[in-house]
């Protein structure tokens, strides 16, 4: 088998295994997601119509923030214990390693967010017709957040207090995903066709899958001093 594939599978399995051994950490982004969504009714008042109107945006913003908060874990521990350095010394293309990493990370944090989202949408009184759009847009959008976020984490991993900086760097880049994601849900909620924004999300995902891993790998090499 191609050595790059072997490395991809090995790293992917290792990451899943590590996460399985410490399941507690996996729940944190989800709890954060639920909390952010549930403070909105407290701030805006419980009017169901108002909540239904803001629900697409609120769920998407909360998912985006939860994804952002979880990004920090992508490279931080490996950086601290030196395994990141070892990975960069391997002859395998670094973008493949980054890809395996991001895929595992998304499966462990992004996918649970997607699965939890319909429940929160019910809390906010989002019409049920919007559920497929919500699920699909999150399914296509959250991997983009992880992929693009990987570049930001790679740039800030060596820094103390990198968390705030990561948010500053990443939020402007997350804007297209937010616009198309929330747009799709809003279209669906008001009974309009919502294919176009979902297709845009798919296009952005294709672009991110191809371009983000090499960029993140280059960023990692810079941060680790080559």
């Amino acid at each position: 088998m191609n050595p790059a594939v072997v490395a991809f599978v090995a790293l992917f399995r290792r990451d899943l295994l590590l996460a399985m051994r410490r399941r507690g950490d996996m729940a944190n982004p989800l709890i954060f997601f639920v909390m952010v969504v549930s403070i909105f009714p407290l701030a805006l008042g419980g009017d169901p119509r108002l909540l239904a109107a803001v629900a697409p945006g609120v769920v998407w913003v909360a998912a985006l923030l939860a994804a952002l908060m979880s990004m920090d874990a992508l490279f931080r521990e490996d950086f601290a214990d030196g395994s990141l350095e070892q990975m960069l010394l391997s002859p395998c293309p670094h973008s493949v390693l980054v890809g395996a990493r991001v895929l595992a990370h998304w499966l462990l944090t992004g996918l649970p967010l997607v699965l939890l989202a319909p429940l929160l949408a019910l809390l906010l009184n989002l019409p049920t017709e919007a559920m497929p759009a919500l699920l699909l847009s999150l399914l296509l959008g959250t991997p983009v957040l992880s992929l693009v976020g990987a570049i930001g984490v790679a740039l800030t991993v060596g820094l103390r207090r990198g968390g705030m900086l990561l948010a500053l760097l990443m939020l402007p880049l997350y804007i297209p995903v937010l616009i198309f994601g929330a747009g799709a849900v809003e279209y669906a909620a008001s009974g309009q066709p919502w294919t176009a924004p979902v297709l845009f999300l798919a296009a952005i995902l294709a672009l991110a899958v191809t371009l983000a891993p090499p960029a993140a790998a280059a960023a990692l090499r810079v941060t680790m001093g080559e």
Binding site: V148, I151, L155, T156, G158, L159, R161, G162, L165, L168, L169, L171, P172, L173, I175, P176, I179, F180, G183, E186, Y187, P197, F200, I204, L207, L211, A215, A218, A219, V222, T223, G225
Partner: protein, 244 residues
């Protein structure tokens, strides 16, 4: 010819030459801007709809153009610095972020001042305004990352990657913001039906745009020189420059 270009890559040569270029650029820019302001504020007629207020475009439009142009320049010099590891390219990238951010802020501020009497509000969530705001965020992120990294050289390389990621993203952001705006059915006051601009207004505008561009180039060199001097403070040529 190539020899001349190569010499620019050497910090002391850059420092001396950029100083001369900067003076020339600023002198030329001052001439053009004076002519443009004279044409724009005195010779050009009053706009029949907006009155005298429209004259702020002679600052606003060039500032917005330079703000966008500066990001592309920053990404280009960032890539040059990343590939050939030229110190000169690195300091120019770093200076470019600061000058570009200033122009972006100027464009937003003058736009708000113009919007208050014309649209009756300081800010609308119009597609163009929003994308310029996002541009400012991108500049600020760049500066924040640079300030956070201790080592100058790795800061420059990390920032260059960020600038390149940004330049790939800008068209996507720009496009998505336009799409979003049509989705939300933006305030119709914000819609500028672009009337063919009269030649007596166009000429001063172009003069101001060229003047601003040259001013930007001069400011870029000036800032880059200061950064270069700071970075090379332990070298002999820098000590010589400071002591004379």
């Amino acid at each position: 010819m190539f020899r001349y270009l190569h010499e620019w890559g050497s910090p002391p040569v850059f420092y001396a030459r950029a100083g001369r270029w900067q003076r020339g650029l600023w002198a030329l820019s001052a001439l053009l801007m004076l002519a443009g302001l004279w044409g724009g504020l005195v010779l050009a007629p009053v706009d029949y709809e907006q009155g005298e207020v429209y004259r702020i475009i002679y600052i606003h439009v060039p500032a917005a153009w330079v703000a966008m142009f500066a990001y592309v320049v920053m990404a280009t010099t960032g890539a040059i610095g990343l590939i050939w590891r030229l110190k000169v390219a690195e300091v120019i990238t770093s200076a470019g972020a600061r000058v570009g951010a200033s122009f972006t802020l100027l464009a937003l501020a003058t736009g708000a001042i113009w919007g208050q009497p014309t649209w009756g509000t300081w800010w609308v969530w119009d597609a163009r305004l929003t994308s310029v705001l996002v541009l400012l965020f991108l500049y600020l992120g760049f500066i924040a990352l640079e300030n956070a990294i201790e080592d100058r050289r790795s800061a420059a390389r990390a920032c260059a990657i960020l600038a390149l990621v940004g330049v790939v993203n800008i068209p996507i952001i720009h496009f998505s913001v336009y799409w979003w705006n049509t989705l939300h059915q933006g305030p119709t006051v914000a819609r500028l039906s672009a009337p063919a601009i009269h030649i007596s207004m166009l000429v001063p505008l172009l003069l101001m745009a060229l003047g601003s561009m040259l001013f930007y180039a001069g400011a870029l060199l000036s800032w880059a020189r200061a950064l270069m001097l700071e970075r090379e403070r332990s070298s002999r040529w820098a000590a010589r420059e400071v002591n004379t």
